[in-house]
Amino acid sequence: MDRTLFRTLNQRPPVAATQAEQETGTSATVFVTPGRQQYHPSSVKGWVKHDVSATAQATYNVGSMTDNGSADWSTNWDVDFSSANYSAWMGFTYTAGNFNRMIAARGQTAATLQVATFSTGGADEGNVGAIFIGASGDQ
């Protein structure tokens, strides 16, 4: 907005949110810049799309993936969370056959999230295509 107009209205020019303001997430007078957007509590801190061999197709804040065995993978965060108390969500594409698989987290630390897909017979990656992981929380 034109500075002259602000002077006319006797207002301060808009100010970028500090990291602390973005983390607090309550100010309605400062604006968000791209470099600080991710500090808001609601923002996604890391995500990945990978296949059953744990090869990542696209990531954000993921240092590496671990293939622990059939239907068992770990996402190793690049910048860790501050503790294991963060939220994560997961899903997968199903390629064929009866849809009788589920996905679940089977381990979580500040640095790693381990997930697995199952059928009634146990760990099962059959007909699983891509796996999607996302996480939010305090880093």
């Binding site: 090869t55 240092g63 590496s64 293939d67 059939s70 059959g126």
Partner: protein
């Protein structure tokens, strides 16, 4: 092309680390916006079990980059390989995944081989799942046969909706049953 890292687990199995393009790019070129001031990020990593020297190096490359390929793989191994795993080794190709849970490797390293006894279990489980799927298909076809019976339910539901007394309601029942 980024290479994978195989390592031996205490149970004789094999885990494979796949470093990401994201980590590779930022350890080369830096430019990462850290979530907290540098020292807090280092302290956080140390709190989570990393060596202080390594944590400092990892965080600093997030800002300024500068790792060689060899340093990058060493850093990924130190950061993401569990401490009780052994013999990390860079590889370019891996065996077919059909018998993935039968993969074995010496604690001292070397090639991945497939353990026959474990492979038999893997195959038996695979057949078990296949037959289970067949049974589900059978169950679905049985349900399809029952569909005709479901056709009788629609008028019954309408009758139930229209019923004006308990006595009338109790008389609503499938024909012939």
């Amino acid at each position: 092309m980024i290479r994978s890292i195989v390592c031996s687990r205490p149970d004789g199995g094999v885990s494979v680390l796949h470093p990401t393009e994201y980590a590779y790019a930022r350890t080369k070129g830096g430019g990462l916006n850290l979530p907290y001031p540098r020292q807090m990020c280092i302290d956080n990593m140390v709190k989570n079990g990393k060596r202080p020297g390594f944590a400092k190096r990892w965080v600093d490359t997030a800002i300024s980059g500068g790792m060689t390929d060899a340093e990058f793989y060493e850093a990924i191994i130190e950061k993401d390989m569990p401490k009780n795993y052994s013999a990390p080794e860079l590889v370019s190709c891996l065996p077919d995944r059909w018998f993935r849970n039968a993969w074995k490797r010496s604690h001292n390293g070397g090639p991945i081989y497939i353990d026959l006894a474990r492979a038999k279990t893997v195959q038996a489980q695979r057949i078990d799942r296949f037959l289970e799927g067949k049974m589900l298909n059978k169950a679905e076809s049985l349900l399809a046969e029952l569909d005709d019976s479901w056709a009788d339910i629609v008028p019954l539901i309408q009758q139930i909706k229209r019923a004006r007394s308990l006595e009338e309601l109790r008389t609503i029942w499938p024909k012939g049953h």
